[in-house]
């Protein structure tokens, strides 16, 4: 015989007041009929019947305070049911014996195997060997990114590019130059200035199997869209138990440009790389820009691809191959050394590289690591280097608190503490919004001298 139990209004409610009965013994009730009202200090709620039948007994008088959740409050005799002693509920009221009356909820718990539930370890693949005698072509980061998209657009018709000024204007920073001419307006799509809307639209298109490349004119404007990037794209696979994903790339220039002020100068590396479900890539060289953007477009996961406006015009050698793709999640050792490790990425690599040249000239054997991918982070390469050099300096344009350097510093402390011969030092952007004045902006950004000073400090040369 169905018992009516004292319901909980929220998962935290333990007891409440049975304020009022709306039925009496002998009444016939059906599903949805309101039986009673209950109250807590926060809310009132109607208790509806889920069963049909006749109210046989009311176990708790109206006005009773402190009725425990899941205590039987009445019972209903269904059609054709006999009233027997065996299924008569015992009234459980009052607060005299809370132990005995704690609600028994019939959850079946799987045997905890928490010891076996460890985070999977990410192992990065190595860069592919380049073919013997491959021609190296000098090109800008801009050209490299443009080629990567063009090649992937040719390769897969589900890939399309969407963003502000990507088509007819040829890209606000000319990264999408000539794509409209080759691929047409169905695949190279100018959007209205509505980051939140078109980011969400692209995520929906990715749910349905397309592979959007969403260009943000700069990542500063993507804050309008960050809800869709994180709540819709990054979490989708997990929330759906592996059923629905968002294979797509969000890309555009990140970090400080030059003299554009606080709202247009911000590094989002730490923001996005803290989010499980996202892949975050921040290349420095032209070759990495090309090989990693192609990998990003092919990735089955949502990828945040952080470019840098100042680096767009810088040149580098890119192998001339039909299909040059680099592994996501692998750091690159830009220079091997044994005295000190410098870790950086994206624009930070420019300061780090120039500092390394000077330091090597001064006799310091620097090992320089370009992270390239920020999530998954190739911490193994960093740890191996620190075990060799015993000293670490990180370089980034972002703010110091909770930055990439802060995170690497913590992990090195956890995994290589005994190998450190000096505290890890971070060279970062200053803890201020970006100023406009030329001299102040220069002060707000990291520079080569700061990197050299940090290396001197950890090598006790200062």
């Amino acid at each position: 015989m169905p018992q009516i139990l004292m319901p909980a209004l929220s998962p935290t409610m333990e007891e409440g007041k049975l304020a009022k009965w709306l039925v009496k013994v002998g009444d016939t009730v059906k599903s949805g009929d309101v039986l009673a009202e209950i109250e807590t200090d926060k809310a009132t709620m109607e208790v509806e019947s889920v069963d049909e039948g006749v109210v046989r007994e009311i176990l708790i008088e109206e006005g009773t305070e402190g009725v425990k959740v899941n205590a039987p409050i009445a019972f209903i005799q269904g059609e054709g049911e006999e009233v027997g002693e065996g299924n008569r509920p015992a009234a459980q009221v009052s607060t005299s014996d809370p132990e005995k009356e704690s609600p028994v909820v019939a959850t079946t718990h799987a045997e905890p195997k928490s010891s076996s539930a460890e985070a999977p370890k990410f192992t990065a693949q190595s860069d592919p060997d380049l073919p013997e005698g491959v021609e190296m072509v000098e090109m800008t980061v801009r050209q490299a990114l443009n080629e990567a998209m063009a090649e992937e657009l040719r390769r897969d018709k589900d890939v399309f590019v969407m963003g502000e000024e990507v088509a007819q204007y040829q890209g606000a920073y000319k990264i999408t130059q000539n794509l409209l001419e080759e691929f047409g307006p169905e695949r190279i799509i100018d959007t209205p200035i509505t980051e939140h809307g078109f980011a969400g639209l692209a995520v929906g298109a990715a749910f349905a199997g397309l592979k959007p490349i969403v260009e943000f004119m700069t990542w500063n404007f993507a804050m309008q869209a960050i809800d869709q990037i994180i709540n819709s794209a990054a979490k989708q696979l997990y929330m759906s138990g592996g059923q629905v994903t968002a294979p797509m790339v969000f890309r555009g220039p990140n970090g400080a440009a030059a003299r554009v002020g606080a709202q247009h100068s911000q590094d989002y590396s730490a923001w996005y790389s803290s989010v499980p479900g996202l892949t975050v890539i921040a290349p420095y060289s032209a070759a990495d820009a090309k090989g990693l953007l192609k990998a990003a477009i092919r990735s089955p996961n949502p990828v945040v691809f952080l470019e840098n406006e100042i680096l767009y015009g810088s040149t580098g050698l890119v192998p001339k191959m039909d299909d040059f793709v680099l592994p996501i999640g692998k750091a690159r050792i830009a220079r091997e050394g044994k005295d000190v490790t410098i870790v950086s990425f994206s624009m930070g690599m420019r300061y780090a590289t120039q500092a390394t040249e000077k330091l090597v000239g001064a006799g310091v054997d620097v090992e320089l690591i370009d992270l390239r991918t920020l999530r998954p982070l190739d911490i193994d390469t960093v740890i191996a280097s620190v075990k060799k050099t015993g000293r670490l300096v990180t370089v980034e344009e972002g703010w110091p608190q909770n930055g990439i350097g802060a995170d690497i510093s913590a992990r090195v402390m956890e995994q290589a503490f005994d190998y450190l011969d000096a505290p890890v030092l971070r060279v970062t952007g200053k803890d201020v919004p970006m100023p406009y004045a030329a001299n102040l902006e220069k002060l707000a950004l990291p520079n080569v001298d700061e990197v050299i000073a940090a290396v001197n400090a950890v090598t006790y040369r200062s």
Binding site: L5, L9, S10, S31, V50, V105, T107, G197, A208, G241
Partner: protein, 339 residues
């Protein structure tokens, strides 16, 4: 067709469209399944078997039932907010899987990792189950974009409430949907209250069918308590979208009997208002009365359907109660796909 300065407000046809007995029976069955399922979910929430948030669809059953009857199952995509259990049941997702997701068990549709607000099915083309108010308007527009891009002839049906209708991204989506004539039907489920705030206290204009006017998107206000009216309007809207004419808005005038979520204090509306809807406008009772009126269907036959539905719900509840919780190793799966 010349663009009007304002959208033409399509008027709901004055003659109430008639259902065949088969249609009435099908609608009765679907709506009753939602009603009984949600009552059971409410009860299980009260017992502590369901945690967190639980938004029940009781009272609004005719909306998703009528729309889905007019759509092509397995082809047209649907997406909604967090009041999503009814949508999944009508789209054919397994009630056991839905209920087990509510209780956070391994047999849940999302392996217990999504919860009440996050269930999806590629197979049934159901894309959630979205917890952020208004996000599904943009996502649903993207599903329509994919339809047009692929040329697969499907329509995207994006449901959101009167509360979400005030979100900025809804209008960003309207703009792009009409600009590109995407095959999307926006269903605004106006149940009069965004949580506890009535539409009069939240919206400068309360005729939500006109919210597409500045984008030249036609809209209709529909009696969302009458499944025949919903079906009829949905047929027009879906045909409009499928034929390449672009988006369409249907404002469904509906009502939720229960609170916004289970912990709703229900202090913002009168009991009389709720009672009036339940007694005079109930979507299921309307169909029941029609079926009995003709004399061809007997009380007994309806009772058989009720027994059948009750068995489905009981089976779902039993499964959801006894199915084990997910294995702890599931904590670390489905974060990203290994390339």
């Amino acid at each position: 067709m010349a663009r009007n300065a304002t959208a033409t407000k399509a008027t709901t046809q004055p003659n109430v469209p008639q259902f065949t007995q088969e249609q009435d029976l099908a609608a009765f069955r679907e709506m009753l399944l939602i009603r009984r399922f949600e009552e059971k979910a409410g009860q299980m929430y009260g017992m502590g078997l369901i945690g967190g948030f639980c938004h029940l669809y009781i009272g609004q059953e005719a909306v998703v039932t009528g729309i889905t009857m007019a759509s092509e199952k397995g082809k047209d995509a649907q997406i909604t907010g967090y009041r999503d259990h009814g949508h999944m049941l009508v789209m054919g997702l397994d009630p056991k899987g839905v209920m087990a997701e509510l209780t956070g068990r391994q047999g849940g549709l999302s392996k217990g990792k999504g919860g009440s607000m996050h269930m999806f099915s590629n197979e049934h083309r159901f894309y959630g189950g979205n917890g952020i108010v208004g996000a599904q308007a943009s996502l649903g527009t993207g599903l329509a974009f994919a339809s047009k891009y692929k040329g697969d002839g499907s329509v995207s049906i994006a449901y959101f409430g009167d509360g979400a209708a005030n979100q900025g991204q809804v209008y960003e989506s309207f703009n792009m949907a009409k600009l590109w004539n995407l095959p999307v039907v926006y269903i605004i489920e106006n149940n009069k209250y965004a949580m506890g705030t009535s539409i009069e206290r939240a919206a400068a204009t309360t005729d939500f069918s006109m919210r597409g006017a500045s984008f030249d998107i036609p809209g209709e206000q529909v009696d969302g308590m009458d499944v025949r009216m919903v079906y009829d309007a949905a047929q027009r809207a879906i045909e409009h979208a499928r034929s390449g004419k672009g988006p369409y808005i249907l404002e469904m005038l509906t009502y939720r009997y229960r609170g916004h979520s289970m912990s709703d204090p229900a202090k913002y509306r009168t009991k009389d208002e709720v009672t009036k809807y339940r007694q005079e406008r109930d979507p299921i009772e309307q169909v029941r009365a029609r079926l009995l009126e003709g004399g061809k269907i007997t009380e007994e036959q309806l009772k058989d359907i009720e027994t059948e539905i009750r068995a489905i719900v009981t089976e779902a509840a039993d499964f959801a109660t006894n199915d084990p919780e997910p294995n702890p190793s599931e904590l670390w799966t489905d974060i990203t796909i290994e390339a």
